[in-house]
């Protein structure tokens, strides 16, 4: 998980999660029932239940499937819009809000209604740690069936569906272009370097690279810090200006590192090392800072 998008108001303190407790950025606790199965079984057993048709990626490399899905984008936009409107702690700027007055009344009403639903049901929940919100996102991404979405979250789905025409009419084209532009900058780098980088990433943390391609949702908005990863790994990465090109590639691998099968051995090793010293990690995010050190030399020939 990373951070760069401009915040509204004071940012939250850098999130810290105690070692041995719920670990930030991955959904260890949230998917505890699924996690064991995830480590032991192919990703499809969790990610692609029967009856779900995974959308075709807009592009793939050997290791990643890149998706540019309007409903996933809209879900994150509504979430961030609601937070910005409420000036929630750590809310980020949503400049699309300035366009609202220019919408026809009927569209504006539909849109405001959808935002209200997100305000009521979603905006105070965490995109990463809230298991049910992750399931909703997964459904929008086409990797979970409708019956896996909590009944209490169905209004959010209805809000997405009702707002989709408005979104399509006003913002989706711009967001889609930005997402494709991000991909244009990152995909050639990924194709050129992934075979060299992936084994080093996995080896650095003592884990193993997933056998299946990693699902990457490219979105105009993600979470507060611009990217997050749930445990498959399933990466959601914002195409914002700060994440372009080589930095985008670094983030892609950074986020992928948050998959359980990659970073879990590292987490355990850090826990063990501090336990042996009868001490604790003073910053409580050493594991994350470790993952922020690129395991390849930045001067690697491109």
């Amino acid at each position: 998980m990373v951070g760069s998008r401009r915040l509204l108001g004071p940012p939250d303190p850098w999130r810290r999660t105690p070692l041995g407790e719920v670990r930030g950025w991955v959904l260890i606790a949230a998917v505890s029932l699924f996690a064991v199965a995830t480590w032991a079984a192919p990703v499809e057993s969790l990610a692609m239940p029967l009856g779900v048709a995974v959308p075709e990626p807009i592009a793939s490399s050997e290791l990643f499937d890149f998706h540019n899905i309007d409903r996933v984008n809209l879900h994150h936009l509504l979430y961030q819009w609601a937070r910005a409107e409420a000036a929630s702690p750590g809310a980020i700027e949503v400049p699309e809000r300035d366009d609202l007055d220019g919408l026809p009344d009927e569209q504006r009403e539909i849109w405001n209604s959808a935002v209200r639903t997100y305000s009521d049901l979603a905006m105070e929940r965490d995109l990463l740690f809230d298991e049910e919100l992750v399931r909703l996102r997964d459904h929008l991404a086409g990797i979970r069936s409708l019956h896996e979405v909590a009944a209490s979250d169905r209004p959010l789905l209805e809000a997405v569906d009702s707002a989709l025409p408005v979104y399509s009419a006003h913002w989706w084209a711009r967001h889609e272009r930005a997402n494709r532009s991000w991909l244009d900058g990152v995909l050639p780098l990924a194709r050129r370097h992934e075979a060299a980088i992936a084994p080093r990433v996995a080896a650095a943390y003592g884990g193993s690279w997933p056998e299946e391609r990693i699902h990457v949702d490219i979105t105009a908005y993600a979470n507060r810090v611009g990217a997050y990863t749930t445990s498959a790994p399933h990466v959601t990465l914002s195409s914002e200006a700060d994440n372009q090109g080589a930095l985008g590639l670094e983030l892609l691998f950074h986020e992928s590192s948050h998959g359980d099968i990659m970073e879990r051995p590292l987490l355990q090793m850090i826990d063990t090392a501090f336990a042996a010293l009868q001490a604790s990690d003073p910053g409580r995010d050493l594991w994350h800072m470790v993952i922020f050190v690129p395991p390849v030399r930045s001067r690697a020939t491109c």
Binding site: L277, M289, V290, F292, R299
Partner: protein, 373 residues
């Protein structure tokens, strides 16, 4: 090369200044990762060993985040705040053409400014401009700068905490400069500091006890345990300086390397009240007793001679090439205000350092010698 717009690729954590975020001692983490995790990534150590070393370092006592070497009497520190402050100070002075001849400090990093991305270059230039306008003309002994240094020391190398604004605007200048410094120059400066410290620590561990004995005999020293010394890529014009009991050593000074680094460290600590609590007054009394004006640089000359004689003895003891004391190598005998000091100091003070006479005897002999001038 992974590059952006022709610039070397700067990893995300550095690019977005994650080590500067408030709330946790990120500098300690960054230092530990640089020291132990990167060697693992480069195949030089094992993962478990690296993690254990990092954990050990981070679990260690607070207040030692910047310490790089330690002996019974000395702690050598490489502190990013102390280094950045002196770096900006000397950069600004070089911009202003302050300091000439023997006092000129060149700052070769200035030529690398154009290699920074435009935004970083602008921010760095802004910080340097502040130093040019508000700091460069001051001495390191300026009250505000001394206060600033004390406050920077109290940060214990944590680049994520609130800074003092001792001189209005310096908080902003240092805050904006630190992430850029960490990315572009600190690794090299820290490396130079560590090499210098490791080099000094070898003879120090073997011989410091004897030096403590000698200074205690000469001056009645009250040596504290583990005196903090800051090692900095830039400091003053030469070798280092000491103020309010705190010493900054100039690690990249070409004249301050090898046994000279050892000698000048032992020179500097004599400027503290711990090591020489009353010797200056006793020297003054000796001159007053014979109604002779004490030469202005005499006390400083005694300090040079003491450390120089000790370094000569160490060179002999360790079978090193003969050592010429720093002040003689630097040609002080030809400098106005110093040339007349060398012969009497060598004749009357160095025997006291060797234990062949006492301090009062040496002071009295010096006073009489200058009476005859």
């Amino acid at each position: 090369m992974l590059s952006q717009a022709g610039h070397e690729f700067v990893p995300y954590a550095e690019h977005f200044r994650m080590y500067s975020r408030a709330g946790v001692p990120r500098m300690r983490i960054r230092n530990a990762l640089t020291r132990y995790w990167r060697p693992f990534l480069h195949g030089e150590t094992g993962r478990q060993e690296a993690i254990e070393l990092i954990a050990s370092e981070l679990a260690g006592e607070q207040g030692s985040a910047t310490r790089v070497e330690m002996s019974d009497y000395f702690e050598l520190h490489s502190d990013p705040w102390i280094n950045l402050h002196h770096f900006l100070y000397q950069w600004a002075r070089a911009d202003e053409g302050l300091g000439t001849g023997r006092q000129l400090v060149t700052v070769p990093e200035r030529s690398s400014l154009n290699q920074l991305a435009a935004a970083e270059r602008a921010e760095w230039s802004e910080a340097v401009a502040f130093y040019r306008n508000s700091v460069a003309a001051r001495s390191h002994f300026d009250d505000d700068l001394l206060e600033l240094k004390q406050e920077l020391l109290a940060l214990d190398g944590d680049t994520g905490v609130a800074l003092p604004d001792t001189i209005e605007g310096i908080q902003a200048a240092l805050t904006v400069a630190m992430p850029i410094y960490l990315t572009h120059w600190w690794p090299e400066h820290d490396g130079a500091n560590r090499r210098w410290s490791a080099s000094v620590m070898q003879p120090l561990r073997r011989h410091e006890a004897r030096y403590v004995e000698i200074t205690t005999r000469l001056y009645g020293s009250r040596w504290p345990q583990a005196r903090r010394i800051d090692v900095s890529a830039y400091a003053n014009a030469r070798a280092g300086y000491t103020a309010i009991g705190h010493t900054v050593m100039f690690s990249t000074d070409p004249g301050n390397q090898g046994l000279y680094a050892f000698e000048m460290l032992l020179h500097e600590v004599q400027h503290t009240r711990d090591v020489a609590p009353t010797a200056r007054q006793e020297l003054a009394h000796a001159f007053e007793a014979v109604a002779v004006e004490q030469p202005g640089n005499l006390w400083h000359a005694l300090i040079f001679a003491t450390a120089g004689a000790f370094a000569q003895w160490v060179a002999l003891d360790e079978a090193l090439p003969a050592h010429t004391p720093y002040w003689i190598r630097e040609g002080f005998e030809d400098l106005q205000g110093w040339s007349e000091l060398l012969p009497p100091v060598l004749e009357h003070w160095v025997p006291a350092v060797r234990g062949e006479s006492t301090t009062p005897e040496a002071f009295a002999a010096l006073a009489l010698r200058f009476e005859s001038h």
